[in-house]
Amino acid sequence: MRWKGLIFLAVLIGIVVALGLLLTDKWLEKRLESVGTAIVGAKVEIDRLDFSIFGLHMRWDSLQVTNPKNTMKNMLTTGRTNFDLEFAPLLKKKVIIDNIEMTNVTSGTERTTDGKVEKKVRKKERKPNFITKTIDRLEADVAAAPAWQLDDLSKKVNVDSILKFLNITSPQKIDSLQKNLAITYNYWDSTFAVVDWENDLTYFKSRVTAINPGQLQTLDGLQSAYTTLNQIDDKVDSLETFVTDARSKLTTDLNETKTRIGQVDDWIKNDYKNALAQAKLPTINKENIAQFIFGAKVVAQATQILGTVNTVRDYAEKFKSDKPKKEKPPRLKGQTIYFTRQQSLPNFWIKNINLSGHTTRGLQIGGELKHLVSNQTLIGEPTTFDIKGERGDGANLNFYGEFNYLGESPVEKFALNMGAMPLNNVKLSDSPLLPNKIEKGLGDLKASLHVGGESLNSEVSFVANKLNFDFGENPSEKLVDKTVRKILSSASTVDLDVSLKSSDERTVLGLDSNLDELFARELQKIVGEELQAARDKIEAEVQKQVTKYKNEFDTYVARQTESLEAQMKKYEDLLNEQKALIETKKKELEARIEEEKQKAQKGIEEEAKKRLKGLFE
């Protein structure tokens, strides 16, 4: 035993305790801020955190959680917050809090400094699931939506600037196809150059022509010529097999090239389609208007909520399973495996949060969040929140939410009702079709979202009444702007119905508003013809750029095909001519042989008669 060591240890413990008392608050504050920042992806700031190690009491004066999508605004702020930690569970590394009193809770407040995280927060890579797929599909839809610049619409559509950036791919593809076809054509050219069919046939022809049955006087000579003719016929027959085979292969090759040539028209069509997509020329109809006015805003809200649901699910899953998949943690950090016994306490559990505060529009809100817990199955209760708010003028709010991970499949439910909400100075959309703030008006909103396992269903119904838009002191006199003003002036009500359904396979977002038809009709009058003209001009330009290549290609293909067909036909004609010649010669020889045979027979008969005549005289 080292006594000096014991004294050193005592001094060391003393220093650690003293430093702990002095620095715990700051350390804990920084630690909580850094954990919160890592989870949210934007700054989380705690002001004047005070932790009493003896009473296990914690409080802070304010908490600011930055909105990661708009880092100059807070997603949530709280005023003074108080709570006690339970001591016994801490020894088991479990954080249990009975009740948190959170006052002065607000949302959407402006920040004095940017809450963007300077250092890149290391985001955990998640496997795609139906929620991330839904988010991706919704964002892709918004990104692919036509970019409408109303200022540009009211002018002539500048097709020339669009044409500068056209990426027409058909000429390259045609060139590449031509090179490919050239290989086939060259093969046949070289095949025809190598074969000696013409010489062979000419040689056979000369031999057949040399046989002259009229000059052959003897039967033996005739029969010998007939045998030679048969031999030539056999050789011609075997040559015919080659020619027929070549004809069959050539026909197949030429048919194949025809099929490939058929692609060219599809390429040109695609070029036109892509050019239109590149130009992002809007199609003015009811559905597109709704998407244009409200799409981006609805999708932004939906993706934010779904992102939160996904994060909560991810954490719930992590704590629920004591057989988690092997992760790849940073060096020396390891992976923590959570072991839980039924009826034991969860690792983290805030039983109740009482909150009170106000919205940026002056609505007094109050409510509670129950059972914020790492593993719901251990306590048998879902996490719920219920927030109510009201204001003297009748405006009211009711927001209920439930995160239920007790069953096999996770379930999240949300219901938001807002009634008689004043819309003064509210901008319903960032779309240029709704450029103005509402001067006066009241809004009612009913929204519900049900996410169950691998599907979600959401309905939103919004009605804005008694509307009066603020058009400013010097409204623009541009035609489109004037039309927008005319429509909005006549519309005292704006309604919007949103329906979102999604599963692992597909996502359907439906938007319907009373403004759709009004805008569609009026805009069609103004810019419909202009847009059609722009489309026609783009099509003409695509045709112009492609036609030259296509014509050259067609000429090349026709020339090559014709040349090969002519060559083949020449061989076939020569062959047929030869076969006909042989056939004729054969008949001539056969006739001559018959004639000689009869002549010989007649000679024998006469000789026999002569001899018999002498015998009987």
């Binding site: 060591g5 020894l91 390891g334 923590t336 495996i337």
Partner: protein, 174 residues
């Protein structure tokens, strides 16, 4: 200067009157801290042991530095071993449940794959490393030290101004 001091203390300890047992235990305890992630309860216990029992602290520091490097390199292996013990070995689940739910013991962080994996390796190495260090200390004292003193590099180092300066002031810290 600190590195020089550690090296110097390490060799001084090897040549001191302390027994090979004391040096070996110092080395082994330092090895445990070096191999496992430092901010953990078991390392606090090991640190207290180094301070209060009569082991050589210089050897502990040297072992800590040496094995910290190994720990960094072997981290994936520790993670895999820890994961295997915590998740794959079904028979050990009651043990981990007990460890995770027992007051005090739960704070030991033994349900972390790297903490458990590295601690198990460290515990397995205690006996062989203890005997190896003892043997090596003896070898050093009997054979290696005398030879090392004759090495040119040692003589150059000893003759260097830096070493003389260090020698001059080193006792001030004692």
């Amino acid at each position: 200067m600190i590195v020089l001091k550690i090296i110097s203390k390490f060799f001084k300890a090897l040549r001191s009157n302390q027994s090979p047992n004391q040096l070996a235990w110092g080395f082994v305890l330092g090895m445990i801290i070096g191999l496992t992630p430092v901010p953990n309860v078991h390392n606090l216990v090991v640190l207290v042991l180094i301070i209060i029992i009569n082991v050589n602290a210089a050897m502990s520091i040297a072992a800590f530095i040496l094995f910290s490097l190994f720990a960094y390199l072997l981290d994936p292996l520790f993670h895999s071993l820890g994961y295997w013990l915590l998740v794959d070995l079904e028979g050990l689940r009651p043990l981990w449940l007990f460890v995770s739910t027992t007051p005090g013991l739960a704070l030991a962080n033994l349900n972390n794959t790297v903490v458990l994996g590295s601690l198990v390796v460290a515990l397995l190495l205690i006996v062989p490393m203890y005997f190896f260090t003892k043997w090596w200390v003896r070898q050093y004292r009997e054979k290696i030290d005398a030879r090392m003193q004759k090495w040119k590099i040692v003589q150059i180092l000893k003759g260097s101004k830096l070493y003389q300066l260090y020698n001059k002031f080193s006792h001030l810290g004692d």
